[in-house]
């Protein structure tokens, strides 16, 4: 399941909802992304997450479907917040559940790696030197590139 929302989410409740009554699940992996207070040497006052409504939902759903096709997951969840967030606030939640932990770990990393390079969200950081759009990170591209895709199955055909 995927959700894009301005409201915060409850990590424990989401893990419980996803795993409750499903006793084939042996391992759940959750990733929570948080707003940090510094970018390099400069303190961040806040961050605004913008997205492309319609395409962002579509890409998250496709990334999730890809993970479900690659790993034997019992369930999965992606929640991404949009709007203005302050340091320490939660931005994103990815949960994967599987019979065995290895599949859950790999699928969770895959989901956040691909989300970070393919889902149309952008961060505007506010610092004492003004607001600026965050630049894409080369190491995020490298992380996503680990998950080699068979030809014709890449959800982002252009890259």
């Amino acid at each position: 399941m995927i959700r894009i929302q301005t409201d915060d989410f409850d990590v424990g409740a989401e893990i419980a909802r996803l795993s409750s009554g499903r006793h084939g699940i042996g391992g759940v992996v959750a990733f929570v992304g948080l707003v940090r207070d510094m970018v390099g040497e400069r303190p961040i006052e806040a961050m605004t997450l913008e997205h492309y409504p319609g395409m962002s939902e579509k890409m998250l759903a496709r990334i999730e479907a890809e993970a479900r096709a690659r790993w034997p997951l019992e369930d999965s969840l992606i929640i991404h917040r949009v709007g203005r967030l302050e340091p320490g606030e939660r931005i994103v939640l990815v949960i994967t559940a599987s019979a065995h932990r290895q599949a859950a770990f790999e699928a969770c990393q895959f989901l956040i790696d691909w989300l970070k390079t393919r889902a149309p969200f952008w961060k505007l950081e506010e610092t004492d030197a003004g607001a600026h759009w965050v630049a894409a990170r080369a190491d995020d591209d490298a992380a996503a590139a680990r998950w080699t895709v068979p030809p014709g199955r890449d959800p982002e055909a252009a890259e």
């Binding site: 992304g33 997450l49 913008e50 997205h51 492309y52 319609g54 395409m55 579509k58 991404h80 931005i91 994103v92 956040i112 989300l115 970070k116 390079t117 393919r118 889902a119 149309p120 969200f121 952008w122 961060k123 505007l124 759009w133 965050v134 630049a135 894409a136 990170r137 995020d140 982002e156 055909a157 252009a158 890259e159």
Partner: protein
């Protein structure tokens, strides 16, 4: 044709969303970008580095050679930075 701009492409062009009717020679992503660059300094600057701009046609990532049609929704945005 509906155009959408996100992040600094929106800031630099000053446009979030617009309806345009490009001339008949605009048939691909690449020719659309060339036409847009000629619309003014904000557009020229925003689109100066094609490698820094991602294009989606009807919410699917597209390449420079992909065709664009009058009823398409074309979005222009920088590499994504969510998550």
């Amino acid at each position: 044709m509906k155009l959408l701009y996100f992040a600094w492409l929106k800031t630099m062009t000053g446009v979030a969303e617009e309806e345009v009717s490009p001339p008949p020679e605009v048939t691909t992503v690449a020719t659309l970008l060339d036409w847009l660059k000629a619309r003014g300094p904000g557009f020229a600057e925003a689109l100066a580095d094609p490698a820094a701009v991602r294009i989606a046609i009807n919410q699917e990532y597209a390449r420079p050679g992909d065709p664009v049609r009058p009823d398409d929704e074309v979005a222009l945005f920088p590499p994504v930075t969510g998550g």
